[in-house]
């Protein structure tokens, strides 16, 4: 009985593909300066990933192609995409890109190999401005929400500030706050509760499911070994979800084959020599006098998003990029990916008594930002799946659970999708100093939330801002950057800044001498989660 779909018997030797795009950027917002290089992370992702994905979805809808895609939009990303200051800055950024692209069409007029590419950028950027300004009215989230309403997209959430949960497990209230604030923030933006959650860094520890259930989540994802090493071992491996022991929360695990095809530096599609090279950017290649207006005002060269070369090979000498040739390769790669999923489904279905689900999660920013042709590959893949085969059906985790509501009960294993599969990336000699402060702050936050009963607005605002500063310090991004070694100073500064802010607010609260000016400054700078309610930290959670 367990294996019969709710709406009738499954067609033999068929299965499902769940494509998951995880869109995330840390909260970076600096109203105190007119230019901050790190804000470009968001601007680059909007131009190169989020708007191209919206165009892709729009085209698929126009062509009446039905699809089910899952996308996590993290609360930090949603906060930035909803922020007037950042969106106004993005508008100016895009205007500058268009201005540069216009100049490039003139500069390359006599360079046939580059001119076509310059025109491509010009067309793309102006099309994106039309989409952003006219169709979306500057509201990118509205675009994604419309595709959720249309039934094409299932938007899920993530930890409130992408805090890595396994290193917080000593303090269930801190974990719960990350989940509950995320769920509330999602509800406010999308007018419905989130069904699922992408755990930050895919970080899971046994017991987390109880907090997920308490916050209303129906499912989450683990890295492959989260289920492979589950207890008891799942009957269907990673090709069906399991319910976590003692809860109704389902865990889906990443399929390693479909991941490797896209992610792998050795085998992945994005490394094809025909694809656009990420690293050769005119921000670094052209004369400083020419490029100065489009880089950091103090003269530091940055990416402009205009790149003229293809990967070519291992040589430093790169050949000119040919977009049409790259698209032909993307078609081939989409076909290859689909073919291999068909083979996989055929095999798995032959040994399973229910249709398998292949879970293929990727960072959304891979598509378009790192892998320029990624959105085109996705477009070709979805169309091929629609028209060229009948073995695979695109599905979301919710749909799968609706069709197969009975699943094995297991306890997944501690896991993450970081190098080594556990917490080594976020806990090592480069970043372990932060946990002393995070644990200290988490304890003080819970104690303050439980023992302070604010009778005035100032105290309540202080507690709410303490919660914001704590959550911003918890972002896994800072520990990740400290480990990877690029932009480390910024990550250290941000971490220390939020720690120092929290400690001062806490000290002021204890001494009953709250500085309204300081508090107001923090509220205006670190304005994430305007509806923050500190009492989320005061819950009496179960012991486990």
């Amino acid at each position: 009985m367990m294996n019969q779909p709710k709406d009738g018997p499954a067609t033999p030797h068929r299965g499902y593909l769940a494509l998951i795009l995880h869109a995330h950027l840390p909260f970076v917002r600096h109203p105190e300066v007119t230019y901050m290089m790190e804000e470009n992370w968001l601007f680059e992702a909007i131009t190169e990933t989020y708007l191209p994905l919206l165009m892709l979805l729009n085209n698929l809808r126009d062509d009446t192609i039905s699809l089910r895609l899952t996308m996590s939009l993290t609360p930090t990303l949603c906060s930035m995409l909803s922020d007037d200051l950042l969106m106004e800055r993005y508008r100016r950024h895009l205007d500058r890109q268009i201005e540069l692209a216009e100049k490039e069409t003139g500069r390359t007029a006599r360079q046939k190999d580059f001119h076509r590419t310059a025109l491509m950028y010009m067309n793309r950027f102006t099309g994106e401005r039309y989409l952003f300004d006219r169709l979306l009215d500057g509201n990118i989230l509205k675009g994604f929400a419309s595709f959720q309403e249309a039934g094409m997209l299932e938007i899920i959430t993530c930890g409130a500030t992408h805090g890595y949960l396994p290193t917080m497990q000593h303090n269930p209230n801190a974990v719960y706050a990350q989940l509950a604030v995320a769920a509330e923030s999602y509800h406010a933006l999308f007018n419905r509760p989130p069904t699922g959650i992408w755990l930050p860094e895919c970080g899971y520890y046994p017991g987390l499911e109880k907090l997920l259930e308490r916050t209303g989540f129906r499912y989450f994802f683990t890295e492959t070994h989260g289920l492979v090493f589950a207890e008891p071992p799942p009957q269907y491996g990673v090709y069906a979800p399991v319910y976590c022991n003692g809860t109704s929360v389902a865990a889906f695990a990443r399929d390693p084959d479909s991941s490797r095809a896209v992610w792998s530096a050795k085998e992945g599609y994005p490394g094809d020599p025909a694809y656009r090279d990420f690293y050769r950017d005119i921000g670094f290649d052209l004369d400083i006098d020419y490029i100065q207006p489009y880089i950091d005002p103090i003269g530091i060269r940055v990416n402009t998003g205009i790149k003229y070369h293809r990967i070519t090979g291992t040589t430093r000498k790169k050949k000119p990029y040919d977009h049409e040739a790259a698209l032909r390769v993307a078609v081939e790669h989409a076909g290859n990916f689909m073919f291999n999923r068909e083979q996989q489904v055929q095999y798995l279905a032959s040994i399973m008594d229910r249709p398998p689900v292949i879970v293929a999660p990727y960072d959304a920013e891979l598509f378009g930002h790192w892998w320029y042709e990624g959105p085109d590959w996705l477009n070709f893949l979805i169309r091929k799946i629609t028209f060229e085969q009948s073995r695979i059906t695109l599905i979301t985790p919710s749909d799968y659970l609706d069709r197969f509501p009975e699943n094995q009960v297991c306890t997944p294993s501690f896991s993450s999708w970081g190098e080594g599969g556990y917490s080594d990336v976020w806990l090592n000699e480069n970043n372990d100093w932060i946990y002393r402060h995070l644990h200290h702050m988490e304890e003080k936050m819970v104690a303050s939330a439980r023992t302070t009963h604010p009778s005035d607005e100032l105290t309540r605002r202080t507690l709410n801002q303490m919660a914001r500063e704590l959550m911003l310090a918890e972002s896994s991004d800072w520990a990740f950057i400290m480990k990877t070694g690029t932009m480390v100073n910024y990550a250290i500064r941000r971490t220390k800044e939020h720690i120092a802010n929290f400690l001062r607010l806490h000290d002021d609260l204890q001494k009953n001498r709250i500085d309204d000016n300081f508090l107001s400054l923090l509220e205006s700078h670190n304005n994430i989660f305007p509806d923050m309610d500190y009492s989320v930290y005061a819950k009496n959670l179960f012991q486990y």
Binding site: G237, G268, P273, N340, F414, R436, N501
Partner: protein, 172 residues
Amino acid sequence: MPDLQIPRTYDDTALHIIPRNPYQLFVFWDIPFRVRESALKLILRVTPFRTVSTPAHSPAVELELSSDSTGRYCAVDNPEQSYIIELGWVDRENGYHSLLSVRSKAAAASRKNRSSDHPLLYRTADRDTIDPVTGRAASFDTTRKPDSGSTPLLNVRPGENFSSRLKPGSTY
């Protein structure tokens, strides 16, 4: 913005344990400043927690640490085991003082480390007929092309890793 000076440690008595992976725990502590000033050295003792279902696999390990140390990575040999971590200090007359002890949670639900020797999918009856590494039939081929074109399928740029998120350093 405020001064970014933050304390190195806190004037507190606290012992924290974070599993780093199934075989390593990160242990760190705060001890009162007056104790740190009086201590000749610190003692960290890692003892497997014995129960009927999880008998200890190894004896206690005792580590001597300098009095200004604040944390330590501890190797453990059984991810299914929980451990008692005890922190104490030795005064200048060689007297031992226990500060506090904490019991860790088991780092992993079960199983050992991540490896390629676990099938991704098996059913009891089929267990011996499936590739134990990949869980697939031998005929399955992840690199086969559906339509053979002339473009090489899998070319790579050495050293490039697509598995990281939007790299913060991308603006450099």
